[in-house]
Amino acid sequence: MPETKILYNPGHTACGGCGQAIAARLVIEAAGENTIIVNNTGCLEVFTTKYPESAWGVPFIHSLFENAGAVASGVESALKFLGKKEGTNVIAQAGDGGTADIGLQALSGMWERGHDILSVCYDNEAYMNTGIQRSGLTPFDSNTTTSPTGKESFGNPKMKKPVPEIARAHGIPYVATASVAFVRDLQNKVKKAISIKGPKYIQIHVPCPLGWRHEGAQTVTVARAAIETGLYPIFEYVNGELAGVQKIKPKPVEEYLKLQGRFKHLLKAPEQIKKIQEIADNNIKKYGLKLEA
């Protein structure tokens, strides 16, 4: 029996319970060995490619913080030139900062030009690699080092940048959100994405025990709670049309917030919790998340 090739090796230096480490392995195992990974600067490339070791069993390139979209465009163009694009997947991956903030321009260009590339965002909702600073995907009222709680602050005053909507607005054929809470769904979405020609985007919710302040063993529990409260809707846009919505029996947002240190200041601020409940309710309405009896 042929030996199964390991595409993502254990022994890397991620924190115990890191959601991104789990998701990255699931992604590459779903995509398979005929895949080239282009990775922005962030936790993932730092903990998987510390010279002289690498966790990757597939071709992997890390360049800079914001350019995975552009480097991947170059890789894909080179494969096209060589006549090798058919049968080779190209995945451009980054954290939330590298996707929604500094990397958005390159991604937008890549999507607009229609490159046959899957872009994956590992959304742990802050710049974790540099020490938990606020990003464009940091949720409302989240405590980060650059949106700290204080005498006059409840944390991040802004909403998450709707990157899946931005991706959809580019007219790309496939957009999806996913989570480490639902492994099979995540891997199915990766497989579906790479079967489609053109630009694809998958945003994966990945808890960060260090940044969100919860036990490493709680990662999947926390991720699940995000979905069950409606705060992280799981859905697909196939050719711009809403599809594949993961329905929920909505739980109150406290069920999610109380699990994490980054939200603990809210437990004494019911008016803030009300605002967050509104966010969840809006998501439930917009994406039709509620499971009807």
Binding site: F60, E66, V71, S73, V75, E76, S77, A78
Partner: protein, 394 residues
């Protein structure tokens, strides 16, 4: 075939002959005709390549980085603000030891915004590990691009090469130049054979994290390669002569310096003006000459010392300035003389910033001032009234 051709289109045609598989660039004056020329070749089927219209220079450099990392010869071009925007990618490409050729249409750097020629842009990346070549005229523009690929892709080098051509003067000027045939270029430049690449049949990780235990040696290795390039670049020029039948490229070119009492050292199109001025002054009996640097990085210290060893007065002419200190070429050249038994008088002059016209009179001023007191950094053709009235108190 000799052509009467605009510098930018000469770049496009020379690059076309080198058969890149991926071209990616972002428009910026005065580089635009280079990429427009290449786009037309692709559109007409004359160049089989993927042409990637990116949304910024940072992405242009990143796209060609990705292409070369995948084993395909690539090309990009920029200038001024665009070069500065791609600066971190410039360092990345050299640090990752990826071969690439970039044409830089040298232009002044903002602020104030100015689209005309000087060499400040390339000076901002002189520490990056790129090999830096400077063209005097359109023939050199053509020849240096072809040599650049050969230098860059050799397994003993594996460093990117920037060919610098003065914006507007060379990009938009027209000259007669010989455009080689495809057969000649194919004979001189073999297909790119990567030392390492992204390939699913042989996976590798590129762009690792290097801890303090590992980073320094990666940088020392580039320094050693730059030193090796001092021998390799003339070797390539020799190979070029065999195939194309002309002297072109190499480290330096000496013009009438054998018995010169005064020599100007300079790079780029200004050398043409200096050569004409030298001829005029020689006709009047003045023993003057010019030393042209074709290669700036690696810095050809020994070639310069050999050329200038008997020259009592040397003027370095820069089209850039390290504000707060002296000019780059002056700084490099003066340090070359440290520890030498005989040290000439060396003065530094700055001309032509922001496209300020450089005439034969400007050059004569340099020779005149060189006869006087030694100066580190004197600006030529400065408008005193503007400085005193408009900029006083800034």
């Amino acid at each position: 075939m000799k052509k009467f051709i605009e510098g930018s289109y000469a770049v496009a045609e020379a690059v076309k002959l080198c058969r890149p598989g991926v071209v990616s660039a972002y428009p910026i004056t005065p580089q635009t005709h280079i990429v427009e020329g290449l786009a037309q070749f692709v559109a007409d089927g004359e160049l089989k390549a993927e042409f990637v219209n990116v949304e910024s220079e940072h992405s242009a450099a990143s796209a060609v980085l990705g292409a070369v990392a995948t084993g395909v010869r690539a090309f990009t071009s920029s200038s001024s603000q665009g070069l500065l925007l791609m600066t971190e990618v410039i360092f990345n490409i050299a640090g990752m030891r990826l071969p690439l050729v970039l044409a830089c249409a040298n232009r002044a750097v903002s602020a104030p915004i100015n689209i005309w020629n000087d060499q400040q842009d390339v000076m901002t990346i002189r520490d990056s590990g790129w090999i830096l070549l400077f063209a005097e005229n359109i023939q050199e523009v053509i020849d240096l691009h072809i040599q650049a690929y050969r230098i860059s892709e050799d397994h003993s080098i594996m460093l990117p090469v920037m060919v610098n051509l003065d914006g507007y003067i060379l990009t938009h000027g027209l000259e007669v130049a010989d455009m080689p045939s495809q057969e000649q270029v194919d004979k001189f430049l073999p297909p790119y054979k990567p030392l390492y690449k992204l390939d699913t049949s042989d996976p590798m990780t590129l762009g690792c994290l290097a801890m303090p235990e590992h980073y320094m040696e990666a940088r020392v290795a580039i320094q050693k390669t730059q030193e090796a390039a001092l021998d390799f670049i003339p070797k390539v020029a020799g190979e070029f002569k065999k195939v194309f039948g002309r002297e072109s490229g190499g480290l330096v070119e000496a013009y009438k310096i054998e018995d010169a009492k005064q020599v100007i050292v300079a790079m780029g199109s200004i050398v043409g003006t200096i050569k004409e001025t030298v001829d005029e002054l020689r006709a009047q009996g003045k023993k003057v000459g010019v030393l042209k640097l074709i290669t700036y990085r690696p810095f050809p210290k020994q070639a310069i010392l050999n050329a200038l060893k008997n020259v009592p007065e040397i003027a370095v002419v820069d089209k850039s300035i390290s504000l707060g200190s002296n000019s780059p070429l002056y700084t490099d050249l003066t340090s070359a003389f440290i520890g030498q038994d005989k040290v000439s008088k060396i003065s530094g002059f700055v001309l032509g910033l922001g496209g300020r016209d450089i005439t034969k009179d400007s050059i004569k001023q340099v020779f005149d001032k060189l006869s006087g007191k030694q100066v580190d950094c004197e600006f030529i053709d400065v408008k005193k009234e503007l400085l005193e009235e408009e900029y006083a108190g800034n």
